[in-house]
């Protein structure tokens, strides 16, 4: 493969004070003796030359309680007992069971460095006690791990397995999920675009069209045709290589997209050709598609506009999802995207967020097996999405039977999202991500943001290489559908849970 991995560049977060997991507290007993500086291997304590007093501790460099057992622990070595180690109380307020603070911080770390996070972060699973958090790889006892070269590991994804349409292979089994202009701002869209370009993959512009500034990235854009048909024109379908129908979203099945009035600014309204300030609700479902034969007509329509376009069909996960997948295949789609209920930003109504569809980890194998039984599994690409947070989640999805995944929230986390859940309010996003507000959105610089996303995927790829080797496999193609490699373990079984692929 001629693809060169994109360059990693270290980029720091945009806030000066870094959120850390641990607090190293120094009290008035300190005599500035410098012992702590001398013992700490990670450089928490520093005193610049010419200064008498030690700088306040750089908490985020601290490796935490594990250090207490070592010989390099500042707390133990302090002659005056002036140092104390504790969990940062802020830490406990960050995140939620699905995205615990560890995972958020680890994602920031990966976005910042392109490296795997330190092992004192649990960056593989969350604490939801369900879904991917209960699935664990059974790593075989093999010595062959070392016998596979890193260069031999293939993480690519073939997007088009059919006999028609463009042949496109992605170097990583990932493309970016739909986020519309309006739900996020221009600089975030540009950051995603540049990252997609660097990784030679795609990202979806969501419903509602996109600003002209994205035109240079047309080859990496997925034009979304969603139920409101906002911003969809022949032009937006003809200038791209890839389009997706959004029939439903796992985060809010049975509902169309929502853009509450607050976020429908004049610029957003202009793109969507609607009235600024009004709430824009996309209907559910497509009014022109009430059946599978209407769906075929829908696909044919897209091909009449652009015969050489890749067609993905995004659906949520109802109980007859297997039938829907087969129907999409017969209608001529290249990709079926199952969107489970764990995903979505905060911009869905409460009632929708809490009335979700079939869990994605059930839906993937159901569809995978059904397609296999029909004899068409290798003719259609199966993509999973909805709450896939980490490199390990990606691998689990593939082992369950998906070919690849769609990532949404993790990209935003890499940009500094703290999961506060205020996404539906135009001025609610403290990080300037989920907003087009002219004062807030400049918080994100698109070059910076692109590098953060590039770095995150670079770190993920490193993780996958390690994981595949550990499983004795050379590619994701070999991993696909290997449900035998997974265990379902509830929260009590620490033994298997502790197995990890971390550094």
């Amino acid at each position: 493969m001629g693809f060169m991995l994109p360059k990693i560049k270290k980029v720091s977060g945009i806030f000066r004070t870094k959120l850390s997991k641990f607090l190293v507290c120094r009290d008035h007993h300190c005599i500035n003796c410098g012992t702590c500086m001398a013992v700490c291997p990670t450089g928490v304590h520093q005193r610049p030359d010419g200064y008498k007093r030690t700088k306040p501790p750089e908490h985020d460099k601290c490796i935490g309680f594990d250090c207490l057992k070592t010989d390099t622990c500042c707390v133990r070595h302090c002659p005056r007992g002036a140092l104390k180690l504790e969990l940062d109380p802020l830490w406990e307020t960050l995140g939620d069971a699905r995205w615990p603070a560890d995972l958020i911080k680890a994602t920031w770390h990966q976005g910042g460095t392109g490296e795997l996070p330190p092992s004192y972060y649990n960056y593989e699973t969350g604490q939801s006690e369900g879904g991917f958090d209960c699935l664990h790889f059974k790593y075989p006892e093999l010595s062959s791990e070392s016998s596979i070269n890193n260069d031999e590991i293939d993480t690519s994804l073939e997007l088009n397995k059919r006999s028609f349409g463009p042949k496109i292979t992605l170097p990583i089994p990932i493309y970016g999920g739909g986020m519309s202009f309006g739900s996020i701002g221009l600089s975030v869209m540009l950051a995603r675009a540049k990252a997609a370009q660097a990784w030679q993959t795609f990202f979806s512009t969501g419903e509602g069209g996109y600003p002209e500034e994205l035109a240079p990235y047309d080859d990496y854009i997925i034009t979304q045709v969603a139920t409101g048909l906002f911003g969809v024109s022949e032009e937006t379908l003809q200038r791209v290589r890839f389009m997706e129908f959004k029939y439903a979203q796992g985060a809010k099945p049975g509902l169309g997209g929502h853009l509450l009035g607050d976020k429908n600014t004049s610029l957003v309204a202009k793109l969507r050709e609607a009235v600024p300030g009004t709430s824009l609700f996309s209907p559910f479902p497509f009014h022109s598609v009430y059946s599978v034969e209407d769906h075929k007509k829908h696909v044919d329509w897209i091909k009449a506009i652009n015969p050489n376009i890749l067609v993905a069909v995004k659906v949520s996960t109802p109980t007859d999802i297997d039938m829907v997948a087969v129907g999409s295949y017969y209608a001529g789609a290249h990709i079926i995207n199952l969107d489970g209920g764990y995903g979505g930003t905060g911009a869905a109504p409460e009632i929708a967020k809490k009335n979700i569809a079939m869990p994605i980890e059930y839906a993937i194998p159901k569809v995978h097996k059904f397609l296999s039984a029909e004899g068409i599994r290798d003719d259609i690409t199966l993509i999973a999405s909805g709450g896939i947070r980490s490199a390990l989640d990606v691998a689990k999805s593939i082992a369950l039977g998906a070919d690849g995944v769609v990532i949404g929230t993790a990209e935003l986390i890499a940009l500094g999202c703290v999961r506060c859940g205020n996404c539906e309010r135009g001025r609610g996003c403290p990080r300037g991500i989920a907003t087009t507000d002219p004062e807030l959105s400049p918080l994100i610089n698109s070059e910076w943001g692109a590098q953060r996303i590039i770095n995150m995927y670079a770190a993920w790829r490193k993780y996958w290489v390690r994981l595949l080797k550990k499983l004795g496999l050379k590619s994701f193609k070999e991993l696909r559908g290997r449900m035998d490699l997974l265990d379902y373990v509830n929260s009590n079984n620490q033994e298997i849970k502790n197995k990890s692929c971390k550094v």
Partner: protein, 891 residues
Amino acid sequence: MKDNLIKQILDQRRNTLPRLSTQMVSDAAEGGCGVIGFISSEKIKGKHVLQASEQMHNRGNGKGGGIAAVGLNAEQLGVPEEILQDNYLLQIAYLDPSVRETVENEFILPYFTVNHTALIAAVSDYREIKGLAVKPPDVWRYFVRVKPETLKEFETKYDNLTGRASEDEFIYQNTYRLNHKFYASLGEKRAFVVSHGRNMMVLKIVGYAEEVIKYYQLEDLQSHLWIAHQRYPTKGRVWHPGGAHPFIGLNEALIHNGDFANYHSVSECLKQHGIAPLFLTDTEVAVLLFDLWSRTYKYPLEYIIEALAPTTERDFDLLPLDKQKIYRAIQATHIHGSPDGPWFFIIGRTVPEENKIQMIGITDTSMLRPQVFALSDWDNAQRQIGLIASEKQAIDTTLQSLKEDYPDICPVADKYWNARGGSHTDGGSFVYTLSQANGSIKLSCADKFGQEVPYVSGTRPNNNGRPLAKGRVRPEADKGSQLQHSKVAAGVVPASIQDFQSIIKDSDYPALYNALTQLIQSAKQDGQQFTRTIETLTWLRDHFYPTGNKKRSSIVALMDNYLTNLFQSIAEIKQNINLPYTLVTRSEVYGDLKVSATSSERVAEAFRLPLPGSLEETLVIQADGFPSEGDDGMSRVIVEAYRKGWKKFIVFGLTGQRFCGNGLGTGSDGVRIDLYGSSGDYTASGLDGAEVYIHNAAQDQIGQILKRGKVVIFGDVGQTFMYGAKGGEVYVLGNAAGRPLIDGVGQPRVLINGTCLDYLAESFMAGDPLDDGGFVILNGIRFDDNGKVVDLATPYPGGNLFSLATGGAIYVRDPEHQVDQTQLHGGQFEPLTAQDWQLIKPYLEENERLFGISINEHLLNVNGEQKKPEEVYRKITPELVEILQSFTEDM
């Protein structure tokens, strides 16, 4: 007494019929499908199902096709007429032929007097039928009556079940047992009853519907009623035809386009009545419901339809009080078992007690599936035909096909219409009934409430059917009319459309032929005259005007015929004169080569298209043979020609080809496409500057995401018209079906002269019309049979108008203030201002120019009185809803 009998019947079924041990699960999800049905006073040959079915391939996937024929020809079946009328026509499909003897010994010979047995003839090797992948079953036909002693014993279980009712029930139960044993149980699918009703038969296969006709050699089988179904099951490996439609009750066969959301609750409702489905599709439970309510409960048809598609909301309130009382009771009892979701049924049945044959079309309350009804007569009211289909083009194709056997039939039906689901106006259902009176068979059509659909009066030419030989004057046109029309007789070409109008109104057909022939002759002499002739013929087919005693449908068919001939003779004419037209056919564009490739570039390279001689030159495309969609479809040919520099297009002879005008891309200004024949779904979608003229009614999804440009539709338009449109100027001569202009944004400007079924401009968001936003003008008028403009009963019959809209406006012509607040959900009435009138007037003027609907004479003239615009038009704007508005800064 009666209640007791019903209870006994249900108890017997519940207690004595075997059950499926497995849980009830729907076997194969399936969505919409292609359906067509027709019923005629004539016995029509099966081959006429072929073409319409073939053209609806894109509504099925070849995994299930079926037909039913009702009202058969006894002679063809080898039985005397009395046997056909009296006996049950039991047809059993043997998937495993070896099981026949066992089935006969167990389920036929012990109980039935068999008056006739035959194996239904079939093609010797199924692989001869192209596309057939699974061998269809052997089907045996038995004409049977239940033995008297069997029946006597059967009746002992009931207090008062006698005669036919008892025999019907025996047949029903026997079939159930047979299917349970040989089809449903243990998954051994060896044999099942395809039909058992009187004077009707069903056949179904894994394949397309027309392959049923071909395989079982039904081309020449005659029947009064045919229904055909293309199935689209989404479970791929279907190897037996049990799941294909039609499904049967007793004397009825039902086909279905759609998909219930509540299969389980309908099944549960049936279970409570002791009925268990065996084939596990929603279509089966639908017909079981129908049979339950009709045969066991003996509901009149109207109540059955109400139980299936309840009248709701405002429509319910508008019913007469006594009807409300009954309907409320029906709904209270049955609504949990009513099929919910998108569905459309066509039912063919015999009503032996009344010596009737019926075809019924029923749409769901929300009209989620497309449906078109048609009614026509030919032979000046001696013979009639009624048709129902999921696409209008299938109706037109059937009529065209019938011309082969009936040269006098008019390829344009007298009437086409849609049913308004669950409504107080037509109940969402129409029933065609064939009955015998005074020795002749007559077809009538009535809605759910029994209100007749009248036939259009007027005469047809007695030679309507035959295509005109090119450039030859008809013999009957030679004589006859000289006396009446010396001008024509003297060889002077009628100069204007007005001349033709008067000939059509006042003269006979031969005179009209004569005039047209001369017009065609003159067109062949001169390029400009050629263009004028096309315009004249087109005007005469598109417009409504008084046609005297002639039927408008015949005039339209005639003009279509002349236009087709004229287009086809372009190459010939060009040998003599300069003509700014070039004709291409499928064989010229890519011959017999099957074009399909992985890359669009290669497909386009395969097209052989001429270059335009000048910008003004028109490319005339004969649509025959171009596929409806795909890389080699009609729409791609237009796109490719456009890339080569063509800007003016005429496409004629369309048979449902989809997507015409799609794919032209950004800035297609200056392109004009004229479509003749039956254009297909999605026509004119996404235009950005081009103009499309549809010289006929249009189908579904027209103008989706339309951006800029102009669309003119000389007829009705189908479902979800202009969904998600961003702009454009659109004129519709007739009505729009359900859900027009949903999610319109930007500045779409639409004028609908008729009305629409329901849900007009839901979630409309098109700004402020007075500040460059969009709007809809709804005129609420129609043309009567005499070509005169008359007001509709109400400008808008539906219960949902402008629901949830946040922008744009509706200008409704409603001088009597019939539209009321209860129809608006988030809209409000506002007075029409001078500014509004200035805004809409140019559109009304263009409407006048296009369709001849005059502002002063027709629109502002109410019951003979001239009114001011503000007395006639009302403006509907979105109500400002606080919660949907932007949060204010201080929140």
